[in-house]
């Protein structure tokens, strides 16, 4: 979040509410759950770290929503690093994989039942995301973000299918 806010400030010094409007435009329905105060918390942290400077407009009270924020030289450096960073947060595959293995090994639960429940949850998430995507006008950038979420859920569902096949075969061979 800090890097994102920093990047949105790079164009020109801005008020917090301007940044919030830009975020809302870019995120669409994905940003709906975001807390309005979050942007100011993030700006406060960036200011403390010396990555942004904050200037109070003359004659106005000292409140975060009255300040104009700008990226500092240190902030520019951090941004340059962020833009070339290729780390990529993956889904929580290992935990789920171990859940199935442990459930089978310890006789705690039927792995196939766990897969079924997980598939239902992912399908509902996919449905909700799909609905949000269908409601976006063609070519919207929020729609593009939703497509990313849809594609990842589809990949996860395919992996669940592979999990199901694997554990169904184990079950048939009685090798839990």
């Amino acid at each position: 979040m800090q890097d994102v806010v920093l990047a949105m400030l790079a164009k020109e010094p801005s008020h917090g509410y301007e940044l919030r409007a830009r975020l809302r435009d870019a995120l669409g329905p994905v940003g709906e759950a975001m807390n309005a105060g979050q942007i100011y918390v993030t700006l406060g942290r960036l200011e403390k770290a010396g990555l942004v400077s904050a200037e109070r407009e003359p004659g106005l009270p000292d409140r975060p929503d009255r300040k104009v924020y700008a990226v500092t030289a240190a902030g520019q450096q951090r941004l340059a690093g962020w833009l070339t960073d290729v780390s990529w947060p993956g889904p929580a595959s290992a935990e789920f994989h171990l859940k199935l293995a442990a459930a089978a090994a310890g006789g705690l639960a039927d792995p196939l039942g766990i897969v079924d429940a997980q598939r239902r949850e992912l399908l509902r998430l996919l449905r909700d995301t799909q609905r949000a995507a269908m409601a976006e006008p063609e070519g919207s950038s929020a729609g593009l973000l939703l497509e990313g979420v849809v594609l990842r859920l589809q990949a996860d569902l395919r992996w669940l299918e592979a999990c199901e096949q694997h554990w169904a075969a184990r079950k048939r061979e009685d090798r839990w």
Partner: protein
């Protein structure tokens, strides 16, 4: 919601070959589809889902079991009556669109109405209306080759709606489409659903399945799981997209 059963099967089976080589493509399937419901059947290729759809639509004859459509026993119909039923009561949508390349979008959509005995004038008027409904009113005079994949499938869907069918059967309707075109088709299915159209879709595309009322998983010719797609989730879009709280 009043849920009147529109389509029902009992012990529906289709086998090919015999003895050692016997294949149970569809194995004693019991299915009930309510009027206005969208049902998706999912499963790996070869699980029998396409054969099931062909049986439901009277394109193939079952080896055993019953099929009832709006109270009529489809499995007992003569070939002639079955052909009539296919023309008037069932709309088909295929993965490869199956449009006639030499005919314009409007002429493709007119075909089923003409085959069902409507006058050319009525068929034309209806085709124009249907193309408007699928958002292609301005493409009526285009040949399929001049349309995108998503547009071709929408023409095929308009054609499927031509005789106001009781049920639309779709076989991998997004199988040949990219992501944006898939969204076009899903939007259209959603509108049909809202208008009360009954839809049975076989697919391996989880996006299509996720927009259905009910999802049936099929394996080795039989139904193995059923999910009603109602109810909420515990996730939220922001977390799903990687936004920190």
């Amino acid at each position: 919601m009043v849920s009147e059963t529109l389509l029902r099967t009992r012990g529906l089976s289709k086998t090919y070959g015999r003895g050692e080589g016997l294949v149970r493509a569809v194995d004693e399937v019991d299915l009930e589809v309510s009027a206005g419901e969208t049902v998706a059947v999912m499963g790996p290729s070869g699980c029998g889902k396409s054969t099931l759809l062909h049986l439901l639509g009277g394109l193939e004859r079952p080896t055993a079991g019953e099929i009832g459509l709006a109270g009529q026993r489809v499995d007992r119909l003569t070939e002639r009556a079955l052909a009539g039923l296919r023309r008037t009561a069932i709309g088909f949508v295929f993965q490869a669109f199956h449009l006639v390349d030499e005919l314009t979008a409007r002429e493709n959509v007119e075909l089923p109405a003409l085959l069902a005995g409507q006058s050319p004038r009525a068929a034309k008027r209806q085709a124009v209306d249907l193309l408007e409904r699928v958002g292609l009113g301005d493409r009526a005079g285009f040949l399929p080759a001049a349309l995108s994949g998503g547009q071709r499938q929408r023409v095929a869907i308009a054609r499927a709606l031509s005789n106001d069918p009781l049920v639309v059967l779709a076989d991998e309707p997004t199988g040949n489409l990219d992501s944006a075109a898939t969204l076009e088709v899903l939007r259209l299915f959603d509108r049909l659903h809202a208008a009360g159209q009954t839809l049975v879709i076989v697919t391996h595309d989880s996006r299509v399945a996720a927009t259905a009322d009910r999802l049936i998983s099929m394996r080795d010719g039989a139904f193995v799981d059923e999910t009603r797609m109602s109810g909420g989730t515990r996730g939220n879009l922001g977390a799903l997209a990687g936004l920190e709280g």
